[in-house]
Amino acid sequence: MGASPVSARLLAVGELAPGRSALLLRLPELIAGLRPGHALHLLHAEAGGYRLRRVAPVTQVDLIAGSVQVALQPRADGGRDSLAELTPGAQLSVVGPIGQPIEVPTDALQILVVTDSEGFAWVRFLVTALATAGRSVVLLIEAHTAAEVPSASLLPESVEILVATKDGSLGHQGGAVDLIAQYAEWADQVIASGESELLSAVTRALRASRKPDRISATAKRRGQGAGVARLQLLVAHEVGCGSGVCGGCTYRNATVNVRLCREGPAVPALGGAASKRGAR
């Protein structure tokens, strides 16, 4: 059989950002293996209605406390996830980890992460891990309005955060891509996470301002990370089989065919070869 479900105890329900629910779980069986990029498949056995496992990106791991924070993703129909209504002490059925860790070459020291309020859940763990490891991280956050912007307190102080809001209520008025040019040459590695419009815009902006692909050249010289693209897109997925067989999360572009729940969530976009694990 596939990965067996394990039981997790709900410690708390909170918010990752305004309107974005997060669950804090006690999950001793899986916690040690969780890495940035991983998600969990959650099911509350007692919940009524449709028994469907939902994909919840891991946003924080606290090995000392033994707790894992995951984000509940917004539903397409605008409905509130019933998991957010649970009270501490509830038991959840968990399958995971879903997906692969995000590969960042060891010689990529300067990292640019571009996200929006939808994509933040998929990068929080990554940004924290990179900053804690001593890498320089710049985070560009795009939102419609200031109320949607996650709190800076969720990230290490060493992370440089720039905010762009469509209505100008906080930071730069406009989109995150307006701010990319000043970091495009600086960044060894760029990671974008969010809605498809943002991912397309980042890809276009980076391609337009692209300098010689130094991370690929460096990686090749050192024999490291030869398959890692300079721009990686983190593509969200919400529901599905979680085992790669249903086709519900297959992401296709010109070079790769990635089952997000197995080979994702990172998809190579610019520079470097397509990830070998993504070929299907």
Binding site: Y50, R51, L52, A76, S243
Partner: protein, 323 residues
Amino acid sequence: MGERLAPGSVSSAVSLGGAHPLRLERPIVTASGTLGFGAEASELVDLRDVGLFVTRGVSLAARGGPGLPRVVEVPGGLLHAIGRENPGVDEVIDRHASAWRAAPCAVAVSLVATETKSLERLIARFESRADQVRADAYELDLTVPCDALNGARWERSLEEATRFIHAARASTELPLIVKVSPDAVSVRALGEAAADAGADLLSVSGSPIGFLPNRSRTGGALAEGLGELSGPLIRPRALAAIVEARGTLPIIGGGGIGSPADALDYFAAGAFAVSLGSALWADPALPRAVLESARRSAAARGLSQIGELAGLALGGAELRVRG
């Protein structure tokens, strides 16, 4: 009703169809699309509890799928558009035929074709590789778009659907399972036409069409726009379609079965076997639970076979169905 029996004495085997019967050791079917093409299926579900594994749809040539999102949750179910994405018949056989041969249950290949010529060539391709392929039946998916109907489903035209089934029957001696959804032009008329055209079973388990705008209402929630619905929200419609089609061909019923009790509803409405879909992702042990529940239910009624549960809710009389 006879005396209560021991559940262990109740037979789960059913033999369905006339001229080309399909024997299932257990009246449990895994729906096409749910567990992949074959190689991965036994990692997800114990196929020893299943009677029939139906592959994901296979076409003559490779078919690409739409962009993301392909699957979203809606109240009471899922809306999905995978586009019958598959690598084409030869690659599917190369990668999955060994799993079909090893499967501890019957295997049906779900056929995807948008016109009859490609259906004939697709079946011919399978039959030409019969030394490698163990298929116990073909599923003719009438919820696939039909070129002659400008992309509408085969099931939306009695005439086109009948041509499709005739073409398949002329191409193979294997049992044919005709798959329709509650959206069919007339499930009963299709069942009768399918029987006349030589089909052996009717699978009333296809997904009806659905649509949901995205949150900003600037487009569809799915990249494809329209999608197909699965989950409990379609259950009453699927049950009604089974009642409508009862008596035309032996029926496999499915749509939103998430518990043993749901499966008993399908037997009671007239199904001889039940098709399990996305609920398997949350509960891989569902086939075993359904099987045991059906055995207990039959035993409590003094029935020696699960197949005798079919149609109990109809009280021996056909419900009046208005078209």
